[in-house]
């Protein structure tokens, strides 16, 4: 029973209610970093890592804020934790993989303003998940994000070789592809709530 519900949370976050394609969270990197497959994959990995850490931290903070009875500080403290986690990841990547650091460029610090991460922290609080459920939820959301990003990057790499009408070049085309991808993911909707 317990494992089943955990499995369901995971599936729900990664496929059925995919953060990018069903909740519209993290659209900025979805449109911005999805030009190349390898960059997209690494970006996804960085996001999964930040998501796991900030989800665990958010769980602790929420418990603490309930204890001191100051729920209005929730938003501010979440964003501070996320910003510091991103800073940590940035230093880590800069030290161990300078090439990846260059490839991600401005989008690395911008993980802070990735709605998917703050959204994850808020959703897990709203849904009242316990610690393990939060962790699984974060893992599912991160994997779902990476999946959407990688699928998109694969499609866009193919589209580079296609002849595209002039007016559709750029963001408009990316949005159209995103819309079709989102339609595809609606096929998972029957799997659960």
């Amino acid at each position: 029973m317990k494992t089943e519900s955990l499995w369901f949370i995971f599936l729900n976050a990664s496929l059925i209610n995919n953060f990018v394609l069903a909740y519209f969270l993290g659209i900025c990197p979805f449109l911005g970093v999805s030009g190349k497959l390898s960059t997209a994959f690494r970006m996804g990995m960085a996001v999964i890592f930040v998501m796991l850490i900030s989800s665990m931290a958010a769980y602790g903070i929420h418990a603490f804020l309930i204890w001191v009875d100051a729920p209005f500080l929730q938003l501010i403290s979440y964003i501070v934790v996320i910003a510091s986690t991103v800073q940590l990841v940035e230093m880590f990547i800069k030290r161990f993989s300078p090439s990846l650091f260059k490839a991600l460029g401005i989008f690395l610090p911008l993980i802070t303003t990735n709605c998917a991460i703050l959204g994850l922290a808020l959703f897990q609080t709203n849904k009242g998940y316990n610690f393990i459920e939060s962790f699984v939820f974060a893992l599912g959301a991160g994997i779902g994000f990476t999946l959407a990003l990688v699928l998109m990057a694969g499609l866009r790499e193919k589209l580079d070789f296609a002849e595209i009408p002039l007016i559709a070049k750029g963001v408009a085309l990316t949005l159209l592809v995103g819309g079709i991808l989102s339609l595809t993911f609606m096929g998972f909707a029957g799997l659960g709530g």
């Binding site: 394609l21 519209f24 938003l75 085309l173 819309g179 339609l183």
Partner: protein
């Protein structure tokens, strides 16, 4: 999120501190540097909450409020905030105003608050607000920043309403909850679903791209080949 060059008009006429300058700060956000339609920033709320016109308007106004207030505070504190921790400070300022907006919306209309859900707290991570704080308010005076925030906020609301109108009219056959068509109208359910957001915004961008292209082609000094490249 690099700093955008200031409006051409402002640089050309070079008003020291005239009213013309701040009017230009206001106008540029509406159209020439429209945050959604031109800069393509703040996509998450743009796509997520525009499934009806009323939601679009509430989100637009809330963002307008936060944008103006944070621009004012950031620009008045711009000489006090140390450079190394500026981004963190901006985020804290923004988060404070978002918390205010969250509670105010909850007090005014519980229905709208429920419909917007997690997207009100998520205004914190709307790139437009941090972008304007970093690119404009940290370098300009209070009055100019106020006008800039107002212009960008109104431009954002305008873009959201464009999307909200089209999605509500096609998706539920109504506008602001008032039914528009006869019963025989078949709702385009897809327009209120997530993928409809992508398609509606793509449609607007295609339209504006087409208009821009046509304008370019009408210019005599530019040959057709140049435009096509």
């Amino acid at each position: 999120m690099e700093s955008k060059p200031k409006g051409k008009l402002a640089g050309f006429f070079h008003f020291p501190q005239g009213d013309g300058l701040s009017t230009d700060e206001f106008i540029k956000g509406l159209w020439r540097e429209n945050p959604v339609l031109v800069q393509v920033l703040g996509m998450c709320p743009t796509l997520a909450v525009t499934n009806s016109a009323i939601n679009a308007m509430a989100m637009g106004l809330a963002t307008l409020f936060v944008l103006v207030m944070s621009n004012i505070l950031v620009s008045s504190l711009r000489n006090v905030i140390p450079k190394q921790v500026r981004i963190a400070t901006y985020i804290l300022i923004i988060a404070t105003f978002v918390t205010v907006a969250d509670y105010v919306i909850q007090a005014i209309s519980l229905d709208v608050h429920k419909a917007l859900g997690a997207f009100i707290p998520l205004i914190v991570v709307n790139c437009i607000i941090l972008g304007r704080a970093e690119a404009f308010a940290s370098k300009n005076g209070v009055w100019a920043s106020f006008m800039d925030g107002l212009g960008m906020g109104v431009g954002f609301t305008f873009a959201l309403l464009l999307l909200g109108f089209i999605r509500e009219i096609l998706g539920s056959g109504s506008l602001f909850g008032i039914s528009l068509f006869a019963d025989s109208f078949q709702d385009w359910v897809i327009m209120i679903l997530p993928s409809g957001g992508f398609f509606a915004l793509a449609g607007w961008l295609l339209l504006f791209n087409g208009l821009k292209l046509r304008k370019k082609q009408a210019q005599p000094e530019q040959t057709r080949e140049e435009v096509l490249i």
